[in-house]
């Protein structure tokens, strides 16, 4: 149960995701349209200029968590090179949740920034 997490310490310059932010990032990514698991990882990494390093495996429990909460659903489909894939997409409930989380994140980020760099 207390198995060690795979460390990212050997990748200096990359930042491990904060607990809970992965959910937010997934929702944000899916706002652009349905995507399969691998694509979601790639999108997150690419749009953060490779700074944010997703431990790719942890994406899956997160996806399941979001499905359970009813924020996303998936359809079976085929990908670019004719491979089967699950395409995840936002539900209305997930869209609302994303707005909520985003504004909460903005508040948090502002607050922390204020403390770190008082003007």
């Amino acid at each position: 149960m207390l198995l060690p997490r795979m460390s990212t310490k050997d990748n200096p310059g990359r930042i491990e995701l904060l607990q809970g932010t992965l959910d937010l990032l997934i929702l944000r990514t899916l706002l652009l349209g349905p995507a399969h698991g691998h694509a979601i990882c790639k999108t997150i990494e690419r749009s953060s200029d490779e700074v944010l390093q997703v431990e790719q495996g942890s994406l899956y429990p997160a996806l399941h968590r979001l499905i359970k909460r009813g924020w996303i659903i998936f359809d079976e489909g085929t990908s670019e090179n004719n491979r089967r894939a699950k395409y995840y997409r936002l539900t209305a409930k997930g869209r609302k949740q994303l707005q909520l989380e985003t504004s909460r994140w903005d508040k948090l980020a502002r607050a922390i920034a204020q403390i770190l760099r008082p003007t």
Partner: protein, 865 residues
């Protein structure tokens, strides 16, 4: 839904993901191997991902529970002896409780099988003098016409009657019930219809009788058979499972099932006070919302009016009884069933104590394992949950095996004595019984989970790990606790054994026969003449004389006689008032008997002579109870007693020529009643007779020949109830025998468990003290001293337990007073015998470990740590 869909292809999803990542890496110029490795590294621990995803859908505790259970299953498999012993112990204990509960459930808890069971009542006039409950026909009709509280009242009666269909005549028990009953009861038929309205000469069959006698052939419906010489039409077949419920005394005295029903053949016009009236039993169904008390008050009012209008009838001797039918049917079985349930519960407690004791021993042996688990990061809670899981697993196995055991036990009980308790036949393992078993299994699991947890609560894990070796101090606490458990077990066993002992003693007293009785060598059977051909007494006498003549010719028959109790009545002695002042008149039984009957059944002549089959003048023989109660110190010989309904009213008195000793030949648990034996040729009634045959050798051997010989006299007159007198007597106390067997079984189980318990604790303590015993022996203790020390320890526990048990039993056995016969609930002999027997058991149980302790080699013992 989402759960299954999401988890279904998780493996595939992960594989696909890794492949895509690998391809990306190759595109970026890595070698295939490196690409794969990098993909894997980036993905993280695959099995952990799967686990996390699974955990999203499944709460953690279920997972841990499954883990714990798997772990337990492994550890239990590794100690098969422990597992088997515990499972068997629990199976027996839980099984016995389940069986006891399914009996209680069927008899006491389940509502009657009639519709609106709570509205049914029993209505009767209790006769203070005869001590029985009866209703006369005219009273019944008056109640029915006047009472407003009832939806309906139904009278019933039953008797054994001859049914002839084709050329086969058999004797069957036939119930006669008012036709209203069938509508009120909600009974169903599988063929034909119920009795109704003004049906007469109609017969309604039970499903069992329909199968047995008519082979389930529906064509018999509408056909005519002969019932006691009278043609009746079969109109329907009842649904299987329907039975008319008779109150306990009726049902258990004579446990034959009613096979078919006819209308109750009495009518208001002919039932007139002063004329010959019918005597019946009455059940009623209250209107919705009516209370039993209201109904009682109403019938009491009606009855008071009747008594006032008929001052010449002695209604003062009667007391009206109206009570819930359910209570009337099963109320008298309640004490026995409660004692039975309590006994079963005690066995369960003893079994649990034994298992807990074993678990404690195991727990102290597993301290290191626990310490290691704790050191590896398992929280205390997790460790205890582990013990709970073990308790659950053991209890579940025990419960499942217990259900099987209960099923077998119920099958056996129902086969051996289906009529010992009313409604016993309805006993089955149903939902409620399953729930009960589940509940006690859970209780047991809790108790198993807690005990090792408690013993380990204070364990200092560090010191356990550090010491490594066994620590004497900690385990001696648990040993003391186990000693207490065993003492408690013995106390419970004392209670059970004393109860069983009291029942056994009652049984022995019931079966104490005078010398020469030998019921095992006596065959009995019954004939009852039916039909118009035997309406007159001469035909009856011819038939009976022919029966006697034929029996005597059968080889193997020593003596044979006829007898029949034909009347209960007041004893009237010539020249004496019927009753002495202030005393109620004495009721006595009048029986007819042939010359050899006394010898055949084994009665002893005390004084005077037997009657013969050719007496010149009216004579009779009385029994000792009669002589004592009616004549007190007077010499009865030569006195003349009035025989009711005697032939020739000009000479109603017959002279006493002999006195026989009392003999319990029909009901073992009833006191012998005053009885008069009239020579059969002088008896006023000869319609029925019990044929009693004393046989040299196996009594059942000549039975078929006898039966054939008698039925050949007249094929339309069946011979039935053929059995040995021994069987008949045993049947007469079937409910008591039932209780005795069950309590006896429970007590035996308790004794065995207690013995195992004592042995277990002493053996374990010897094993723990090997080192100490080695030291003692090295310092000069002799073997007898070591044996003495161990045995003393065992006996100490035993004496404490037995002492407590005797005290508790003394207080508790009073509750079973109604089940005893001529034995006091505090019978000192039984108490002493049980105490000694248990002390001996404890002695034997600790002797083995003591001998083992005595052969300890000090050198090895001292080195073994």
């Amino acid at each position: 839904m989402n759960k299954r869909k999401s988890l279904k292809d998780l493996d595939q999803d992960i594989r696909d993901h890794l492949e895509r990542e690998t391809e990306d890496n190759i595109d970026r110029g890595m070698s295939p191997e490196d690409a794969r490795t990098a993909a894997l590294r980036k993905f993280g621990n695959v099995s952990r991902v799967k686990e996390d995803a699974w955990r999203v859908w499944n709460p953690v505790w279920i997972e841990q529970l499954l883990q714990d259970l798997r772990y337990c299953a492994r550890t239990l498999r590794r100690s098969p002896a422990f597992t088997v012993v515990v499972t068997i112990t629990l199976a027996v204990a839980i099984g016995m409780n389940t069986a006891a509960f399914s009996i209680v459930n069927a008899v006491l808890l389940k509502p009657l099988t009639y519709s609106n069971p709570d509205r049914w009542v029993w209505v009767a006039n209790y006769n203070r003098q005869f001590k029985n409950e009866l209703v006369s026909g005219p009273d019944f009709f008056d109640w029915r016409a006047q009472a407003q509280s009832f939806e309906g009242l139904a009278g019933y009666d039953y008797q054994d009657s001859t049914i002839a269909a084709g050329d086969v005549a058999t004797q069957e028990r036939i119930g006669q019930i008012s036709n209203e009953f069938w509508q009120l009861s909600g009974a169903q038929t599988t063929a034909g219809r119920l009795l109704r309205g003004d049906d007469e000469d109609a017969l309604l069959l039970t499903a069992a009788f329909f199968e047995r006698r008519f082979g389930g052939d529906p064509r018999v419906i509408g056909s005519t058979v002969t019932l006691e010489g009278r043609p009746v039409t079969i109109i329907g077949v009842l649904a299987p499972g329907f039975r008319f419920l008779l109150p306990t005394p009726q049902a258990s005295n004579d446990p034959r099932e009613i096979e078919a029903y006819t209308p109750l053949d009495i009518h208001p016009e002919t039932e007139v006070r002063g004329g010959p009236t019918a005597v019946i039993h009455v059940v009623g169904k209250l209107k919705p919302g009516e209370a039993v008390e209201q109904a009682r008050a109403e019938i009491e009012t009606i009855q008071a009016r009747i008594a006032k209008a008929n001052p010449e009838w002695s209604y003062g001797d009667f007391q009206l009884r109206v009570e819930s039918l359910q209570e009337k049917l099963v109320g008298s079985s309640r004490p026995a069933l409660l004692v039975l349930s309590a006994a079963a519960a005690l066995v369960l407690l003893i079994a649990c104590a034994n298992v807990v004791s074993l678990l404690l021993a195991r727990a102290s042996a597993r301290r290191r394992e626990v310490a290691i688990r704790a050191a590896a990061g398992a929280g205390k809670g997790r460790v205890f949950r582990q013990f709970f899981a073990e308790g659950m697993l053991l209890a579940a196995m025990g419960g499942a095996a217990g259900l099987l055991f209960a099923y077998g036990a119920m099958t056996t009980i129902l086969r051996l004595s289906p009529h010992a308790v009313p409604r016993l036949g309805e006993a089955a393992v149903d939902g409620r019984v399953l729930a009960f078993t589940a509940a006690i299994s859970i209780g047991v699991a809790m108790c198993f989970g807690f005990s090792p947890a408690i013993s380990l609560w204070k364990t200092n894990l560090h010191s356990t790990l550090k010491d490594g070796a066994r620590t004497f101090s900690a385990s001696s606490t648990s040993l003391r606790f186990r000693g207490l458990l065993v003492a408690g077990e013995l106390a419970l066993a004392v209670i059970l054994l004393v109860s069983a002992g009291l029942l056994v003693k009652s049984f022995r007293l019931m079966n104490a026969h005078p010398p020469g009785f030998a019921p095992e060598r006596v065959l009995v059977m019954r004939v009852e003449l039916s039909g118009p051909a035997y309406a007159g007494r001469p035909a009856q006498e011819t038939y009976m004389t022919e029966v006697l003549r034929r029996i005597e010719s059968v080889p193997g028959v020593e003596t044979a006689g006829l007898s029949n109790q034909f009347m209960q009545g007041v004893a009237r002695v010539e020249g004496k008032p019927a009753a002495s002042r202030g005393q109620p008149p004495q009721m006595v039984t009048f029986s007819m008997a042939s010359a050899e009957y006394g010898k055949a059944i084994g009665m002893q002549l005390i004084k005077g002579r037997w009657t013969t089959d050719s007496e010149a003048s009216p004579v009779l023989v009385i029994n000792r109870s009669f002589a004592r109660r009616i004549f007190q110190t007077e010499d009865p010989l030569g006195k003349r007693i009035r025989v009711p309904g005697a032939l020739g009213a000009e000479e109603p008195y017959a002279a006493v020529v002999g006195i026989v000793d009392d003999l319990k030949y029909s009901k073992l648990d009833a006191e012998p009643q005053p009885e008069v034996l009239v020579p059969y040729k002088q008896a006023p009634f000869l319609r029925a007779a019990n044929v009693t045959v004393r046989v040299a050798g196996d009594p059942l051997a000549p039975a078929p020949a006898l039966r054939k010989l008698i039925s050949e006299i007249d094929k339309s007159q069946p011979v039935y109830d053929v059995k040995t007198l021994e069987e008949a007597l045993a049947d007469s106390i079937a409910p008591r025998r039932f209780t005795l067997y069950l309590i006896g079984t429970l007590a035996t189980a308790a004794l065995l468990l207690a013995m195992i318990g004592v042995y277990g604790v002493i053996a374990y303590s010897v094993a723990q003290r090997t080192h100490e015993i080695g030291v003692r022996m090295a310092l000069g203790a002799t073997r007898p001293e070591v044996i003495g020390m161990v045995v003393r320890q065992g006996l100490g526990v035993a004496v404490a337990g037995i002492g407590i048990g005797v005290g508790a039993a003394f207080a508790l056995t009073r509750m079973m007073e109604s089940l005893l016969y001529q034995v006091k609930a505090t019978d000192p002999q039984t108490f002493a015998a049980v105490a000694i027997a248990l002390a001996l058991t404890a002695l034997i149980a600790s002797w083995g470990p003591a001998l083992k302790a005595a052969v300890v080699d000090p050198v090895i013992a001292l080195r073994c740590d």
